[in-house]
């Protein structure tokens, strides 16, 4: 019981300290763009009403989940292919690096032509940003599989899907999971970027609209919502990760307790 309390204290300690510090540091702030935390909290309930959640947050979440899911799926599939085939990797790596370094905002006209102004474009923007950490980590994870295990697999003539599932994906999964975690927050950012284009609703659209309308406390309250979304999704992610990587955490935990 006391352990759980200690854990909760550790989890909540820093955010509480930061918020309190922010509260006092910003109290009475006259700077237009750095309003007191008190003001931000005051506008929060009136800004993020149930109606707004339905009209702006929910559509954003739908696009986010779809885009993120596609990014992870594509990232793993392409990553395994590229990671496992040396020549394919040599062939596409410079090209991928080239594409990775292109700022998404400048691709807007092409996206309009190819995918229009609706949800497909916004999902595409999320995929275009979220795929890279998954892809890169998967490639590196697959490249870095243990040689001894690879040889063992060959000796036992384990190949095909069985080899992929029991060896390659499993060996690469710790790194794939890092990539998927990275992609989560990047997807939220890309969700906001995507809503700058041809959008009429959405969480990111709302935040930017507040900024343009000089409603700075409301804008900061929107930043809060984005941050909270990040925390919630990361909690959900941790739960999924514990299931998917239970064997891995098991190994590492056994090692820790055995110390």
């Amino acid at each position: 019981m006391s352990r759980a309390l200690g854990r909760a204290g550790l989890l909540l300690g820093l955010p509480v300290i930061l918020l309190v510090t922010w509260w006092f540091a910003s109290a009475g702030s006259k700077s237009f763009y750095q309003p007191p935390l008190e003001t931000i909290i005051k506008v929060f309930p009136a800004t993020w009403t149930a109606a707004r959640f339905r009209s702006d947050v929910l559509p954003s979440l739908g696009r986010l989940f779809l885009g993120y899911g596609l990014a992870v799926l594509l990232g793993i599939v392409l990553g395994v292919l590229i990671g496992a085939h040396r020549r394919l990797r040599a062939l596409v790596e410079p090209l991928l690096e080239f594409l990775r370094a292109i700022p998404p905002p400048v691709l807007v006209p092409i996206l309009i032509l190819v995918a229009g102004l609706g949800d497909p474009t916004k999902v595409l923007v999320i995929v275009s940003g979220g795929i890279w950490p998954v892809l890169l980590n998967t490639v590196e994870g697959v490249r870095g599989v243990d040689q001894v295990l690879a040889d063992t697999c060959r000796t036992y003539r384990i190949c095909g899907w069985l080899r992929m599932r029991t060896f390659i994906l499993r060996a690469a999964s710790p790194q794939i999971v890092v990539g998927a975690r990275q992609a989560l927050s990047i997807s939220i950012i890309m969700m906001v970027i995507g809503e700058l284009l041809g959008a009429t609703n959405g969480l990111g659209y709302t935040v930017v609209q507040f900024q343009r309308g000089f409603e700075i406390p409301e804008m900061w309250s929107g930043v809060f919502v984005l941050g909270l979304l990040g925390v919630l999704l990361s909690l959900a992610f941790t739960l999924v990760e514990r299931r998917v990587l239970s064997w891995y955490h098991g190994v590492r935990a056994a090692e820790r307790s055995g110390r």
């Binding site: 930061l18 510090t21 922010w22 540091a25 237009f32 763009y33 807007v108 006209p109 309009i112 032509l113 229009g116 102004l117 700058l196 284009l197 041809g198 959008a199 009429t200 609209q209 900024q211 343009r212 309308g213 000089f214 409603e215 700075i216």
Partner: protein
């Protein structure tokens, strides 16, 4: 937040030496330069509308007022207002609607010179509402259609709504989506929207495709004031004299630009990459030396009507 500040702090301390050694951008305060002239940075957008300030600089109108001008380009207004409020820039260029909305939210800014105006001729303005579909012939026909606006809840969609209303239509039936000026032609070409509202140089290039014009800023109100140069209340309080000299130089530049369209077309090619022949074909905005109180009040009333302002803007206070 605090983390941000902390990282910011980290960044500053780590970079203080390096960046000042690079030395390109460090002397940003409006401190008197060696020659006694006030160094002034102005945040502008690389478009035709700001030609007078470039022309005035080239003509020495600012030097004459002891103002050492440097012009900083940004893509849109997003960064210019905070930059002026914080003193990164001393002056900035912005459309009048953003300034009015800013005033209503107590942003400490004040317009100090005219920016540019629509022309007197609704059919031949530097801006235009364009359609591709020949079935759409007038603003009223836009009911149920989608129109591209560079930003939402700002000057362009407010103007289009006014045109629809004046034509007997219901502006609430028009749908707006946000697309930047440079990307609008692509959207209309691909039939993603049914109408676009563009300014020069996009207007001439879009009209060349045979698209029809059914409205403009000038149709909202002839000589409608579209933009203004503004400064922060702080600078106004501390260096009222500098602001006065900037305004005077700006006024002279605007008058000169309006009287010398050929020089405007020439100077545009120096700070953008617009080709000389394209510059020659453009319709230039009107550059009135003074702000246009009547059209500002018109716009302010439209904003109240659209619910973007709770009460009419105090244009007398905001725009001198």
């Amino acid at each position: 937040m605090l983390r941000t500040r902390f990282i910011a702090l980290l960044a500053v301390t780590a970079l203080a030496a390096t960046t000042s050694a690079c030395g390109s951008d460090d002397s940003s305060d409006a401190a008197p330069a060696t020659g006694g002239a006030d160094k002034v940075k102005v945040g502008v957008i690389p478009i035709v509308d700001v030609a007078p300030i470039y022309l005035g600089k080239a003509k020495g109108f600012f030097t004459k007022q002891n103002v050492d001008l440097s012009l900083e380009q940004a893509q849109g207004g997003a960064a210019i207002v905070p930059a002026v409020v914080s003193g990164q820039y001393q002056f900035g260029f912005s459309n009048v609607v953003s300034l009015m909305i800013g005033q209503s939210k107590n942003v400490p800014i004040k317009a100090v010179a005219n920016g540019n105006n629509a022309t007197a001729d609704a059919a031949k303005d530097f801006s235009g509402l364009l359609v591709k579909d020949s079935a759409i012939t007038r603003p009223k026909d836009l009911e149920g259609k989608t129109v591209a606006s560079n930003t939402l809840k700002n000057i362009v969609d407010t103007s289009v709504k006014d045109l629809v209303r004046k034509d007997g239509g219901d502006p609430s039936k028009v749908k707006f989506v946000e697309i930047a000026f440079p990307d609008m032609a692509a959207a209309l070409d691909a039939n993603r929207v049914q109408a676009i509202f563009v300014v020069e140089p996009f207007l001439t290039s879009a009209k060349a495709k045979g698209w029809k014009q059914i409205g403009s800023f000038a149709a909202v109100s002839p000589s409608l004031q579209v933009a203004a140069y503004f400064t922060s209340q702080q600078l106004l309080g501390e260096k009222a004299d500098l602001v006065k000299r900037f305004s005077a130089a700006m006024k002279e530049s605007l008058a000169y630009a309006d009287a010398h369209p050929d020089e405007v077309r020439q100077i545009v090619t120096t700070y953008t990459t617009i080709k000389a022949e394209a510059a020659a074909a453009m319709t230039l905005p009107k550059f009135a030396p003074d702000m246009d109180k009547t059209s500002l009040d018109t716009m302010s009333n439209l904003l109240v009507q659209e619910g973007l302002l709770a009460a009419p803007a105090d244009t007398a206070k905001l725009f001198q």
